[in-house]
């Protein structure tokens, strides 16, 4: 990706964002004029900068919960998706439960986890895992299912075992699907950690957010939200980088489509 292409890609959304923020500043400063209801972007930035130590201190536990929950979810989703690929009985048994896991409302489950597991990191890790599990597992399962049956036949005619077919055909073929699911999961991950903290925690961005709400510091509430958003965006960008690193062949596919136009 050349610098020129990057700039060309970025300037429209950046411009739009700038316009929106400027509009917000004007509305807040000259329209609503009540920082408790709607603080202006400048107030948010200065308040956030002032409290940057507290924000940083609380960011680490949240990121930690996100990381561990996500890692757990990653491992389990690979295991289950692989099992579903190898055994249709497993697939019939697991898939409906997989879908059900997505329907569980995190907000309701969070207090239950706290009651079961206490205030440590365990309930938060589990909650993040629950929030991220379905997109990962479902996308991976779809990726495996997408494998070409003819590719299977070809490999079998070469004398390949089931495992060899899995490693050489199914896994690489599923990666693009997996990355799509990964992007979705990332957007849920930090949110899951925040909700988990609401239910009971000693520190974290979710707790800090609540505390600021309760002392009517709306500007710091927004600042915390901004920090959360920035963290999510960074993670999101990392998934793109990771995808390009691990699936370099796809840039030729895109080029091919463009050339054909």
């Amino acid at each position: 990706m050349t610098l020129r292409r990057l700039i060309r890609m970025l300037w429209p959304p950046v411009l739009l964002a700038v316009v929106l923020i400027a509009g917000w500043q004007l509305v807040a400063r000259y329209g609503i004029k009540n920082p408790e209801v709607l603080p202006s972007p400048s107030q948010i930035v200065s308040a956030g900068w002032q409290q940057r130590a507290a924000l940083e201190r609380n960011a680490w536990p949240t990121l930690r919960e996100t990381e561990l929950g996500f890692a757990f979810s990653f491992a389990v989703s690979w295991i289950l998706a692989t099992a579903m690929d190898f055994s249709s009985a497993a697939r019939r048994a697991i898939y409906p439960l997989l879908v059900a896991s997505q329907t569980v409302p995190i907000i309701a489950i969070a207090p239950l986890f706290v009651v079961m597991f206490g205030f440590g990191i365990a309930p938060k890790v589990l909650l993040v895992a629950l929030a991220t599990f379905f997109p990962l597992a479902a996308s991976l399962a779809a990726g495996f299912a997408n494998a070409d049956g003819d590719a299977d036949r070809l490999l079998r005619s070469m004398g390949a075992s089931r495992w060899r077919i899995f490693w050489t055909v199914r896994v690489p073929g599923a990666l693009p699907f997996f990355f799509t699911g990964l992007r979705v999961a990332i957007t849920y991950a930090i949110g899951g950690a925040i909700f988990a903290e609401y239910a009971g925690a000693e520190s974290g961005l979710g707790i800090y957010l609540q505390q600021m709400q309760q002392v009517f510091r709306t500007d710091l509430v927004f600042a915390t939200v901004a920090v959360i958003a920035i963290c999510s965006i960074v993670l999101f960008a990392l998934t793109y980088l990771l995808e390009r690193w691990l699936t370099p062949w796809r840039k030729h596919e895109r080029a091919g489509r463009e050339a054909a136009r």
Binding site: A54, L68, I107, V114, V115, Y208, Q214
Partner: protein
């Protein structure tokens, strides 16, 4: 579509890259798992107290730290707990109620309130009140000072912004009827935004704390007019109490006594030295209260002068009459439900809901 005809370099080994990525991921995970494992909140049998073994005792808060908690933080900051061999662990407020945490034994003590504890106990929770922090009812009916409402009877047909607690509506109806109204009003659950809703004019009345939200409203230039519920005959209640589980008390009676002794000392200090106590409260909760100094100061003065001590000058003591009065009210209004959610048939024994047995001798004498 025949692109570069010269060979170029062999593209990187993707299998190796994947393994590298996995390895990095596993490494980061391992680091986060072990690295952050030792946090100040985790239990440690021997804290830094000259090597003397301290017992961990947890206290779950009911809200962000405020002047109802002053005695706790004073005791923490001045070492009253450590002196008695206790390492206090404060559990911040979350969406799990302290009553639940207490009765599921996830916390040793918690900040609660009389009606909340009564409901929890009657529906089967293992919970009992051991210390009354506020001796005066810390809730009033509030309307905007510039509204036309000058009497609770005028609340008929208006909108109430509350927490969704089962006692709010019966309590308000009682007061409104006692004032001569019918007790019909709209009830909207807004949780923490109730007071902002009042400020923004979206609701007509709420039930703020005189020691916090009412002062806050005055400070931001949006004062409230308040109606004292006890003036209309509503029984006085213990708005802020410290509760524990019977199981904990049975097993750790001695620790409980030491704990409450420290608490008692803390509130005694707060009652005698409100300004210093306020500073200690802020010091212990810089992030939350550092920007609210004026509010904390005013609130601390108010609590010290009117709320911590009862008519006999005692701190923490609970009267059986007061427990009985509210239990009667809740039972008669069908507010109390059993484990299956149905209103109970027999009135519960108020004496099972509280105990003064763990208060320091100086109080109970």
């Amino acid at each position: 579509m025949n692109s570069q005809p010269d060979k170029g370099a062999r593209p990187p080994n993707l299998t190796r890259r994947s393994l590298v990525a996995l390895g990095l991921g596993a490494g980061v995970t391992a680091l986060t798992a072990w690295g952050g494992g030792h946090r100040p909140g985790e239990s440690s049998a021997a804290a830094a107290n000259d090597g003397i073994e301290l017992t961990d005792v947890s206290l779950a808060l009911d809200w962000t730290p405020n002047t109802n908690h002053t005695g706790v933080f004073v005791a923490q900051q001045l070492g009253y707990f450590a002196q008695r061999g206790i390492n206090l662990q404060i559990v911040p407020y979350g969406s799990t109620a302290p009553e639940t945490l207490i009765s599921t034994y996830k916390t040793d003590f918690g900040i609660s309130y009389q009606d909340g504890l009564t409901e929890a106990a009657v529906s089967g929770g293992d919970i009992v009140s051991v210390f009354a922090i506020t001796q005066k009812t810390d809730v009033v009916i509030g309307v905007r000072a510039d509204s036309k409402i000058t009497d609770p009877a005028q609340l008929d047909g208006k909108t109430y912004a509350g927490y969704g607690g089962p006692m709010e509506v019966p309590m308000l109806q009682y007061v409104i009827r006692a004032a001569g109204g019918t007790g019909d009003f709209k009830d909207v659950t807004l949780n923490t935004d109730a007071y902002q809703a009042l400020y923004a004019g979206q609701a007509d009345f709420a039930m703020p704390e005189p020691t916090w939200e009412v002062l806050q409203a005055a400070l931001v230039g949006k004062p409230l007019r308040t109606f004292d519920v006890t003036e209309y005959g509503f029984p006085p209640i213990y708005s802020v109490i410290i509760a524990s589980s019977n199981r904990y008390l049975r097993r750790n009676g001695d620790i409980a006594k030491r704990f409450l002794a420290a608490i008692e000392e803390g509130y005694a200090y707060a009652a005698a030295h409100p300004t210093e106590a306020a500073n200690l409260l802020i010091q212990a909760n810089e992030a939350v209260l550092g920007t609210q100094v004026k509010l904390v100061m005013e609130s601390a003065q108010l609590e010290a002068s009117q709320y911590y001590k009862d008519s006999a000058g005692q701190i923490g003591y609970q009267s059986a009459a007061r427990w009985q009065a509210l239990t009667d009210f809740m039972f008669k209004n069908g507010i109390l439900t059993d484990t299956s959610g149905k209103p109970i048939k027999t009135e519960p024994k108020a004496s099972a809901l509280f105990t003064n047995a763990y208060l320091p001798a100086s109080v109970t004498a």
